[in-house]
Point group: C2
Chain length 652, copies 2
């Protein structure tokens, strides 16, 4: 049996996606490359060689915990965008490696094949865990005598046990080492291990020492059975149902998008897709073609998932520490899975591979990391006019949207990350959760931080205020008015959505429409989720970026990760909440908006043994960005008659 | 020039849809008919005849303002559902007619072709406006000398003017007559009349007297030009763009749904679709097949739009009165437009006609009133398991959902109403707005009321509460807990969403799952919208159903319309807010949930001259309704290879 307490699961996230596009050829020479392209196989190998040259593995303990692009300066990137053949941006790589038990931050100039800087980090917190080290320590209990004794005591089969590493956070301890909790599960008769935990045992392992440093067999509880936990079709038996009829799609003109290197061109959009082992997919340099102005206009400099916070609710020994940061601790990119064609993405989708790396720096191919596809979006706009006598007016345009998808599976949860682009100018990031509910840890809260980079903008909050009319000037007793404030400093822009009705927009005060409105984009949020831990609780200190739903900061190239650069065992001293205490100016500056989005999930029986998708999304919608409706002159896609089918199916 | 003040537009709605299905044959005899079927052409004619028999039009003034099904008693309908061949439900029609200046409520037994009851209504408020009477009074200004003088003074062309009727609400006046405001627009050079108002003139017409009873030419303002207002493709010229590639869909096995009469069978769902001239589409008797229990289980007795409230923000003479109730004043069903194939609905959709009626009772065919189609819904559930050594596990199922769509255009706004059904058990009603922004009336708020009928249920609110740990029992300083309260009476169930985190569910306390959870469905709302008028303001009194986002009442067949039965010039004495003052018991009873949903819209230049869709939706999601995931054994639709296409398109 298992318990499923009513619980809340919130996923607040920062959705900034970089679609990684791995080049077709695999020759050693570098061919055309966009400065924001993710690392190629050759580049990973070069980094491995360069670092090993300085720290030969024959007498150095060397592990790569992060290898990624060192972001070029924003102004240079923008110059490159305008003059790609004139501007050369040196390709620099940022490495976080643990070398002889010290955390090194190494910057490498790939062109020169040299190390630009190599600094030891002495602060709190540790780098992203590597998959390799987890695999190693996960094996430790199986050879650990006290654990073997516990297993025997419970009458379990040791060869059917699998263990996983869970980060431990920080709870005020003075000293920290790179420890993880190991939780073990039964894998006999079902691959749905998360629903079959071996509870009552505390195992702490040290990733550096590669040994178990703490062990308590606290309490024996029965392991739930494997019955009815299987979700693989190969292991299921009839009856199946309900039956779903095929709904196949086809694009006789081919897809509407073109991908050149990592640059995507679709409808009126251009953008770059990259990939990072920590962030996962990243969208950069998204701009939209203005039909009236006859030029592309920048919308989004960069968008990616900055952090994903999962604090569990249960304060007991079994679960109190479970306050995961899926991006900073496990690496969203490292957790990205290969997409299953025709299942994770529709039949007409196109796939992109990418490379991630192992702890020794060896590149590893991740096939089908990203898919790109168009999707029928229903009605773009429409109107039927019946009021004009003797005229029958009806107009309706359908739309096809573009989606860029990745899926990151961190342990039990599968996070489906979509970036949707609409010709109307909107960008709609979405996250959907599926996968396995971890039972007993039923109060789960996921919070992701969304980060969008903007340029020379201001953040405006338009409040809607009820005004009472007491002077008899109208038959109405009240009306409501809008008051727009421009945020001057960071403290003006810490927003909790839902408290009072407000419109939030990023505007460019230096560019106005013909009738004087500042061009901008507004945020249309989903129902927000708010923190449920006290602000002084350790997990909440570490995940303090969730204290507000929206933050705005001045652009700072080093402020990338809302939970800090070093999240494992972090103490919350390098988070978005800390940076913004500086209360810097954000008016008419190059600013960044951080949006925290929540998925509210109460586990129910329908989520067992695997949960149907639960999703949330928000919209970045052009607001006085265009002079008028940008898709007024967009025609519906051409009708394609299917042989043998008529286009109008009338029942009556 | 026109002004577009920052404004808020909220649509809160009650989504209950009835899909009307008009029988193929047009003979006088009644063939198989479900008791909830909408009126047939023959039935409308029968009603017309029966009422005219009593009130011959030779010497009576007779106008039909509402002809619709008189809801049968719920328990009899449920009996019919179980024993359709044994239970006969007499077909009764409810009529609201204005006869010789009096409002009559007439109930007709169609089988007996007799009037069951005929009562005069003497309370406040008036029936739904008829299209016919509006068309008549809309012509009045064109022959009214003071208006002609005003037109000449402005240098406008009288033959290019069109006027519309706008309901006036109530602002404390002692006496009320059936008056409307008439606003006039220019129609030369563009059909986009709403952006070309003739402002500064107040015209009040009386619908009963059919004359103008008030006229003021207050102020001359220029009429905005027609430039750049056209949205019809036939009147647009190149360049067009951006280009959208075709994405055609096809169902080689045919659609997955079957419609028999008005009853729909799809995947594991069964439901009935009807149509009402006031509510529009109505969904009834929705039940889902439980694969484990081998039977259909009731989910939704009835769902429809109960009311749609549109209070404008502007308190000035021009706009103060604009506080529309699109359903109760104009009739959502009467406002339903014919769907455009391949535009409003995808190519493989199926269409259903229905009948509405004119003021003289004559039935009028409304072609393509409803469309039904399946839609690719992306991923149903998925998981990739990498933690088990030497095993590669990945499983993903795609889903196809069913959508039932209607579009009601009330003046300038097009409301796209979708009912989405998912095999996972969720129902997702959605509303999207498009059409024309009415300029100068920029602060628009639409609020619709959603009504779902349930049976022998309770309403549970699970609050999520932060708890501080002060006794050192855990390393955590806080955790959060859930507290579930069952609403006992109506006052317990008046919910403002967003104030404090809570889960809202309808449960059946008499039916539990194997492990003891009460079966239920929960409400997953979108970001809510709250009223912005003071509670004592006249429009807010009339639209008081928007004071809360969720209400629960005991089922009462006569409590159908959240704004009251008579909404035009109503005084708010018969609204959902008034009924619930009785504070009736709602625990373990046959209860009804009313959900108020908001669309938050700030008009921007992109909305001109026609606005891209702005949408919102909510989800009714099974919560411990099933023993486990109901689509665990649902296979993805069969892959359909398109000749000449491979199924895996790899860029690299």
């Amino acid at each position: 049996m298992y318990s499923t307490d009513a619980a809340m699961k919130l996923a607040l996230f920062s959705v900034l996606t970089l679609l990684s596009f791995h080049a077709v050829v695999s020759v050693a020479t570098l061919h055309f490359q966009h400065p924001l392209d993710p690392l190629t196989k050759e580049e990973f190998l070069a980094v491995q060689t360069i670092v090993r040259n300085k720290y030969p593995i024959s007498n150095n303990k060397l592990a790569f915990h992060y290898i990624g692009l060192d972001d070029p300066e924003k102004d240079i990137v923008l110059k490159y965008e305008t003059y790609p053949t004139l501007v050369t941006i040196p390709r620099k790589i940022f490495v976080v490696a643990i070398i002889n038990s010290q955390t090194h931050e190494i910057v490498i100039n790939l062109k020169l094949r040299s190390i630009v800087s190599d600094n030891v980090y002495n602060g709190y917190g540790f780098p992203v865990l590597s998959i390799d080290e987890q695999e190693i320590v996960n094996q430790l209990p199986l050879k650990y005598p006290p654990f073997i004794a516990s297993v025997n005591k419970r009458g379990l089969n040791l060869s059917e046990i699998v263990c996983f590493s869970f980060t431990m956070g920080w709870f005020g301890e003075e000293k920290n080492s790179r420890t993880v909790r190991l939780d073990c599960f039964m894998k006999d008769n079902t691959v749905n291990i998360y629903v079959r935990p071996i509870t009552g045992i505390t195992i702490v392992a040290d990733l550096d020492l590669i040994k178990i440093v703490e062990y308590h067999d606290r309490d024996i509880e029965a392991v739930p059975t494997a019955e009815n936990t299987e979700y693989r079709v190969s292991k299921q038996s009839a009856p199946f149902g309900p039956k779903q009829h095929s709904l196949t799609s086809h694009q006789p003109q081919g897809p509407g998008f073109q991908i050149n290197g990592h640059s995507v061109s679709w409808a009126n959009w251009k953008f770059h897709i990259g990939f990072d082992v920590r962030a996962g997919s990243v969208i950069s340099l998204a701009s939209i073609y203005d039909l009236e102005k006859h030029k592309y206009r920048s919308v989004l400099y960069k968008g990616y998932i900055s952090e994903l916070f999962v604090p569990y609710q249960d304060p007991t020994e079994e679960f109190y520490f479970k306050t995961f940061f899926d991006s900073g601790e496990y690496g969203f990119g490292l957790s990205t899975v290969s997409l299953i064609p025709n299942r994770d993405c529709p039949p007409h989708a196109q796939f992109i591979d990418t490379y991630i790396h192992s702890a020794d720096g060896t590149p590893r191919l991740l096939e089908n990391a990203i898919c790109v596809f168009e999707q029928y979006g229903n009605i773009m706009w429409r109107h039927t006019e019946i009021g004009i006598p003797n005229e029958s007016i009806e107009e309706s345009r359908t739309e096809v949207n573009l989606i860029v998808r990745t899926i990151a599976t961190v342990g039990n949860y599968d996070n489906v990350i979509d970036w949707e682009f609409k010709a109307s100018g909107s960008i709609k990031p979405a996250i959907a959760l599926s996968g396995i509910i971890e039972i007993k840890g039923t109060d789960i809260k996921n919070k992701d931080e969304i980060k969008e980079d903007l340029h020379d903008n201001s953040f405006e909050k338009t409040s809607l205020r009820t005004v009472r009319i007491s002077n008899g000037s109208s038959k109405r007793k009240s009306y409501w008015t809008t008051e727009t404030e421009t945020a001057k400093t960071e403290s003006d822009a810490k927003i909790t959505i839902g408290v009072a009705p407000a419109e939030l927009a990023i505007v460019n005060p230096n560019i106005k429409t013909a009738i004087g409105n500042e061009v901008g984009y507004r945020l249309i949020p989903a129902i927000p989720a708010h923190p449920l831990l006290t602000e002084d609780d350790y997990p909440q200190i570490r995940g303090a970026f969730t204290n507000y739903n929206v933050w705005v900061t001045p652009y700072n190239r080093t402020e990338k990760w809302a939970g800090g650069l070093y999240v494992d065992h972090s103490r919350g001293d390098d988070t978005l909440a800390v940076w913004t205490k500086q209360d810097r100016e954000i008016m008419n500056k190059d600013i960044v908006m951080w949006h925290v989005v929540g998925i509210h999930h109460v586990p129910a029986q329908e989520d067992f043994p695997i949960m149907p998708l639960l999703s949330t999304s928000f919209e970045l919608r052009p607001t006085n960005f265009f002079e008028r409706n940008p898709v007024l002159k967009t025609l519906s896609p051409r009708d394609v008659p299917w042989p043998g089918c008529s286009n109008l199916n009338k029942i009556a």
